[in-house]
Symmetry: C2
DNA sequence: TTGAAAGCGCTAACAA
DNA sequence: TTGTTAGCGCTTTCAA
């Protein structure tokens, strides 16, 4: 029955509303009222309570609050991506920052979780079901992704960044990969290139297959399947490999659409090593407008992805769903302008 | 008093232990026992409960569990870094992955949080105090960082990645920036360079000032302050700027230690644009062994940072503290080998 | 304007 | 081996 707040081993126990109430000489209910900024608290009471809070160093226990409120003021951002890809992806950082900014403004905590292994996915699913997260933003989900299923089962407010085909009518924010690919390919044509190829990454993802579709759209009847080289990832080394294959198959190639800036950088290095000068002999364009683009020599023409806006918009969607202002379905497509530099 | 689990608007309420108990015809205590794998449960009871759990789709509420257990099985990884830097940092992703792997194995959830603005810091401090996080890993803290203070005040189990001078005897995992800088500088000397300069980033951080210290160590009496150019960040553009300044001040420079690979890449481009051939005219080395290093032409000699190991070791430290196996003080320094390629 | 009391979903001590 | 009960720290009726 000790009234000082130390535990068995003499460590200071954390203060609770009860301690504050005792200290201020009021009831817990009143303390709770000032904590939540509710009306009907006298000035004296409020002042006494505020002083008591400062004195005992009270910080509300969120688990307790979450339990009673059935909400946690935290939303998760899930990246489902095996190891290496996550580290290399030029967009994830910006998406994260954009989402964080929006949530921060609404006083929500962003909790970022990576699903790397199968075990991660299970633990994550349990975690999400646990009520410690009010909603989720899902980045880079694939078709058939177990995370997607888990979230649907839970009925958690969610927004996808990107648009895998099997998310039903869930909310999503995406860019128009197909349209942008079409546009940039067209400008490649307009500058007089006649043998235009593509290094096409990640055809198992919506982003990858959409970019290819846009490429095909633009070329129309001039499309030659011989000039597209599929590669697994949006990586520099896949860019090198893809370009080598293309060069061998079509030495007269004079334009290439690389499905990412990293791929373009790899392709460019191979091209230059083979003695081609860019953009004179061959024009090359990328996708992402990441730091790779400016590192290239000549700097890369590419498609700008508003990655931070994607994160922000997804966060806002979840927030609206939480407020009940949004049924949480339907998508939003963000503009992504082509930026012309010197590589084509 | 309705016994079906639907709320006022007909939405399905989440099942609780009580629902499971009713369904299985046992008490909540028994359900709790099987949930936590405790002994003294009959096979019949266990089977009935497992069936009931599956039937009603029960998932434990973690807020409730956290409340009573005073722990949440989640640990936070905090990155305190303004915007742009976070996105560009080549190590953070790997640190995150390493930490996640270690925590995942121990069935802990990693929750990653960025502190970007002052407001973020406040919200974060409140969040951490809330009992939803059992411990933290802090990445890229600076001296005098308010986050550091908040954590110390809270007495949360913590481990730092890196070693700001003011963390007292808190646990940390770091690399020997000074030793590695010394070593790589020495090899630059051994290959016969006589006018060796340094582009020194982030002197306000331990990593930056330690690298400079190592550089000075190695050069000894041959150190010439005229040949070090301080720049704010570990970035490509600061590498360019730094190199330009150095070149102007000392056109006869024949060796440069860039404090990161990105800096080295910028420096290399400036050097080559000025007609210097690498490594013949000037040798250059970097730090990080990031993707920049291989993209340079010639590929960059650099210091390999075991970033994922840093994350893993920090996570393990926090886990040990949580188990009471470790007082949570003292540091661990990881090896970071020099990797020699062709730039020096 | 305030206090008392019930209860969020769970675990753990105690009895049976 | 099991059920009962008392909380964990908070919010929120309901009365006063």
């Amino acid at each position: 029955m000790s009234s000082d707040r130390t535990d068995v081993i003499g460590r200071r126990r954390r203060a609770t509303v009860k301690d504050v109430a005792n200290e201020a000489g009021v009831s817990r209910g009143t303390v709770s009222r000032v904590l939540n900024g509710q009306p009907y608290v006298s000035d004296e009471a409020r002042e006494a309570i505020e002083a008591a809070i400062a004195k005992v160093g009270f910080v509300p226990n969120r688990a307790a609050r979450s339990l009673v409120m059935q909400s946690s003021q935290a939303i998760g951002l899930i990246v489902h991506e095996p190891h290496s890809l996550f580290v290399e992806d030029p967009n994830i950082g910006s998406i994260l920052l954009g989402a964080n900014a929006a949530l921060s403004e609404a006083d929500y905590q962003l909790s970022f979780m990576i699903a790397d292994t199968t075990r991660d996915i299970e633990r994550l699913a349990r975690y999400l079901s646990g009520g410690l997260i009010d909603g989720v933003i899902i980045v880079s989900a694939r078709v058939g992704d177990p995370i997607t299923r888990a979230i649907a089962d839970l009925g958690l407010p969610a927004a996808f960044v990107g648009h895998p085909r099997d998310i039903g009518d869930a909310a999503y924010v995406a860019i128009d990969n197909r349209g942008a690919a079409r546009e940039i390919t067209r400008r490649l044509m307009d500058t007089g290139r006649s043998r235009i190829g593509m290094i096409a990454s990640a055809l198992d993802r919506d982003s990858g297959s959409d970019r290819l579709a846009g490429f095909v759209d633009a070329l129309g009847s001039r499309f030659d399947p011989q000039l597209v080289e599929p590669v697994p990832l949006y990586s520099y080394s896949d860019g090198q490999a893809g370009m080598r294959a293309l060069l061998e198959r079509a030495p007269d190639i004079d334009g290439v659409f690389a499905s990412s800036d990293a791929v373009a950088a790899g392709a460019m290095d191979v091209l230059q090593a083979a003695g081609r000068v860019i953009p004179d002999d061959v024009g090359i364009v990328g996708f992402d407008d990441s730091s790779w683009a400016l590192r290239c020599d000549p700097p890369l023409s590419t498609v700008h992805q508003p990655a931070d806006e994607l994160g922000r918009a997804a966060a806002e969607s979840v927030l609206r769903q939480l407020r009940g202002e949004d049924p949480g379905n339907g998508g939003r497509v963000l503009d992504c302008p082509v930026v012309w530099r010197d590589s084509a």
